[in-house]
């Protein structure tokens, strides 16, 4: 449950792989209820992150900050400041703890602060708020991740571009929730982390 520069790096590289493999799928999810770019945005962002991480960061805080800055300057869409803020908050928090659950809790608070979304608003907050407690409890599983992502399907969007569609946003999985699902999957798969 403690994070190091090395486990952070392999977590991120795995996340970047998943984004790369699924970028078209993520953009397709973003098409009916958004502008169809989420996968391409995240792919651009994670390429920049991967590039940054080829140079080993001096400590966890520097690592988080590098990731945040890469995402903030390259993603372009709403997910840029949101993931960027998540990693910035983990950078801040990492000065007092390297406990993964605590770090993710700070990240979630940052995302909620930045975007103003609550659970149920059909945003990545739904996945984060569902799964951060699971990480803390040591009970995260692939199944729970899938269910958290799927739960956004029947929600009516209250934040982000999908909210312009009102009731019509129902019946589609939220793209940012799907990409956040990959982040948690990558976490689950990172050896020596959970």
């Amino acid at each position: 449950m403690t994070l190091t520069v090395d486990t952070l790096t392999s977590w991120m590289n795995n996340f970047a792989d998943k984004i790369e493999v699924n970028k078209q799928y993520l953009s397709d999810l973003d098409t009916p209820i958004g502008d169809g770019d989420h996968g391409f945005n995240m792919s651009r962002g994670m390429k920049a992150v991967r590039e940054k991480l080829t140079t080993k960061s001096v400590d966890l805080q520097a690592g988080f900050k590098n990731i945040a800055m890469a995402l903030i300057s390259t993603v372009g869409g709403a997910s840029g400041p949101l993931y960027g803020t998540a990693f910035l908050e983990m950078a801040k928090k990492s000065s007092s703890t390297d406990d993964l659950g605590e770090l993710l809790k700070a990240a979630l608070a940052g995302i909620q602060n930045r975007g103003g979304a609550k659970p149920g608003d059909k945003t990545m907050v739904d996945v984060w708020s569902e799964l951060v407690p699971e990480v803390k409890a040591g009970t995260l599983s692939k199944d729970k991740i899938e269910r958290a992502v799927e739960s956004t399907k029947d929600m009516v969007a209250k934040k982000g571009r999908a909210s312009y569609l009102g009731e019509r946003s129902k019946g589609h999985v939220d793209p940012g929730s799907e990409s956040s699902g990959y982040l948690f999957e990558a976490l689950l798969e990172t050896e020596g982390l959970l």
Binding site: P32, G34, D35, G36, D37, R161, Y164, L165, G166, R168
Partner: protein, 123 residues
Amino acid sequence: MSLGITIVSHVPEIAEGLPKLLKQVAGDVSITTAGGTNDGDIGTSMEKIMQAFDDNEADNILAFYDLGSAKMNLEMAMEMSDKKVHLYDTALIEGAYTAASLIQAGVGLDEIEAQLKPLTIKD
């Protein structure tokens, strides 16, 4: 009934740029624009607006504008045009974006108008 959008702005660049934002979420919606005066200066032109109505592929047009004098030219163009045009006193960018998203999603005019109501800020 097919729905399209016409944007009327005092500024040619705004009339050119706004469709790029709308097209991202409404690739199949016909969007036409009238920006600036006949000389390309800041202002609006009834002729350009009539042209934008004509060029629009839809038979029902939702029209959005920036300032009051654009509305006057819009209304004159509506009186002279055969197209069915619906004029909204909403925020220009935000109203047009909302309408574009909903038209693309296949939402009907009544429901679109209900969603545009809270964005009404001009008269």
